[in-house]
């Protein structure tokens, strides 16, 4: 039987330089008994977890596991059928009522999507996209906006020429960097990474993962990484929950979940990862 106690990852990371400021804040994201039904299909069933300030958590699963639905509920793109979501102490289980509310939520949790080719407005240059996001959350004079935009572009490793470019002139990795800069413009406490490196070449993926680690060091943002790639999960997160068909089947520190999986599905997942010397075996025939 899956362990039904909510994995509590609360507690700020005491090794982070921001720990003093964070110590009194408690978990930045708390999800309780989350459930989502699409008609008769139960996509997410009784999921609970908490993410501490400066910590990073992975939601691992394959297609149909419900991990993307959870991500969408956290950022407000889907409405939970039951259960609660709280970010930075404020409840966000129901859709925002006012524009001010929407913006406030945007300043708490942001998201970077998987596909770099459709997550930017094709008609907007990189700096315009970041600048628009910035002006949504801050009422600053033009020059302060400009300098902050430059800072963000710099933070994600793009140069001035790339900043002025339209998405079609940028590579997949560069576009993801723009998406990250845009998400950071709101200065969120939580950044949801929905398979954000899955569509990138291996060498670029490594660069972006390093970038994410750099950002985390500098801003103490918490990551919620949605991924099917166990190696990436290991690299970037300290806690993980494993989802299968809408339910949490296992949770715990990432290292433990990957090195000593308890649940049969987690074991199967772990055993499916190619490595030198790996010989795939057939689980059995499929008739559905």
């Amino acid at each position: 039987m899956p362990d039904t106690t909510a994995p509590d990852l609360a507690g700020p990371d005491s090794t982070s330089p921001h720990s003093a400021a964070l110590a009194s804040n408690g978990p930045v994201l708390v999800v309780t008994s989350l459930r989502k039904e699409f008609g008769s299909l139960v996509a997410v069933d009784d999921v609970s977890f908490a993410v501490g300030a400066g910590r990073s958590m992975a939601i691992v699963g394959e297609s149909g596991s419900g991990k993307t639905t959870i991500a969408r509920m956290i950022v407000g793109l889907e409405r939970p059928t039951r259960g609660t979501i709280t970010a930075c102490g404020a409840d966000r289980s129901r859709p925002a009522r006012s524009a001010r509310d929407r913006r406030r939520r945007g300043a708490e949790v942001q998201i970077v999507f998987q596909d770099p080719y459709t997550s930017l407005d094709p008609r907007q240059s990189a700096e315009d996209a970041v600048s628009e996001a910035l002006r949504l959350h801050h009422d600053w004079p033009a020059d302060r906006c400009r300098s902050r935009v430059t800072e963000l572009i710099d933070l994600v490793g793009l140069d001035a020429r790339q900043a002025r470019s339209l998405p079609r002139a940028l590579s997949g990795g560069q576009r993801q960097r723009v998406a990250i800069a845009r998400a950071l413009a709101a200065e969120p406490r939580v950044l949801v990474l929905d398979e954000s490196v899955a569509a990138l070449d291996v060498s670029i993926q490594a660069q972006v993962l390093n970038l994410l680690a750099d950002i985390r060091d500098e801003t103490a943002v918490s990551y919620v990484l949605i991924s099917h790639d166990l190696a990436v999960v290991r690299q970037l997160t300290d806690h993980a929950i494993v989802m299968h068909r809408g339910r949490v089947v296992e949770h715990g520190p990432t290292a433990r979940v990957l090195d000593e999986p308890q649940d049969p599905y987690t074991r199967r997942l772990r055993a499916s990862v190619p490595r030198p010397g790996w010989k795939p075996t057939r689980a059995g025939s499929e008739s559905s």
Partner: protein
């Protein structure tokens, strides 16, 4: 924009030239016409080309060429009003339906289906019966009749943009629905909107000319190509086809130009959409 025009090929560019000429006439027609388009001279009725009158005289002895040039104004303004009206209404309805989806979309789609049942000209005749003949009533009626076509085409494109992750990212940012629609969704539909408007101009011109021909649109003696066909029609049987034919040709030339350019722009818009999907 010049780049877009150039990529429509020779046919597209020639069409653009024709449209440009017609537009110039529409804007300055009455002032650049060589002779007074409204001065009748019954003794010269249906006289062929002579002296400086390249196209001869119409049934009331007015210079045909001057009348064509002056007539460009009402012949082009009418369709312009129809296009602007239909596009504005259609775009708003399409984007709202695509944004809100579910119930709103269903209601809107059903409403559009009902409107589809009314042919443009029929609606214009009805409007003339209720409000009296005239360009305004005809233009409004046509705009309403065309709007569903616009909405149907644009709704598909709007739905596609609505489903893109960049729109979701803007929502998560906290941007409002109207801002996202106006600043992001509509601009990304622009090539399609322009293409649709261009083709629609041609349709509107034909329909309005027909309505004016029937006497329900622009009223004589105002110069208008459709009206000119109807007023000079007796000339065809009497062996003086030039005035009516010349007016007809003007309509045909401009309509073809709009159709050709519109179709090419449409193709371009589709190519752009396809390219946006490819890596």
């Amino acid at each position: 924009m010049l780049g877009v025009l150039r990529s429509t090929g020779i046919a597209g560019m020639v069409s653009a030239v024709v449209i440009a000429v017609a537009t110039v006439f529409a804007a300055f027609g009455p002032t650049i016409a060589p002779y007074n388009p409204d001065l009748p001279s019954l003794g010269l009725a249906f006289v062929g080309p002579a002296g400086g009158h390249l196209l001869g005289f119409d049934f009331e002895g007015r210079d045909v060429l001057s009348r064509l040039i002056a007539g460009a104004q009402s012949s082009m303004l009418g369709p312009l009003a129809v296009v602007v009206g239909a596009m504005a209404l259609g775009t708003v309805i399409a984007v709202v339906a695509a944004w809100r989806q579910r119930l709103t979309d269903t209601v809107v789609s059903s409403g559009l289906d009902i409107l589809f049942a009314f042919p443009g000209i029929l609606l214009a005749v009805l409007a003339a019966a209720v409000f009296g003949a005239g360009l305004t009533a005809a233009a409004v009626a046509l705009a309403i009749a065309y709007m569903p076509y616009v909405a149907r085409v644009l709704r598909g494109a709007a739905l596609k943009e609505r489903g893109q992750p960049y729109v979701a990212a803007l929502e998560v940012q906290g941007s409002s629905a109207s801002r996202i629609c106006l600043r992001h969704i509509v601009p990304n539909m622009l090539p399609l909107i322009v293409a649709q408007a261009t083709i629609m101009f041609g349709w509107a011109m034909v329909d309005l000319a027909a309505i004016s021909f029937l006497g329900l649109g622009v009223q004589p003696p105002a110069p208008n190509w459709g009206v000119m066909i109807s007023e000079n029609e007796p000339g065809i049987l009497q062996g003086y086809p030039l005035p009516a034919l010349a007016a007809g040709l003007c309509i045909v030339a401009v309509v073809i130009a709009f159709n050709v350019l519109g179709e090419r722009l449409f193709l371009q818009a589709q190519v752009q959409q396809a390219q946006a999907v490819r890596r």
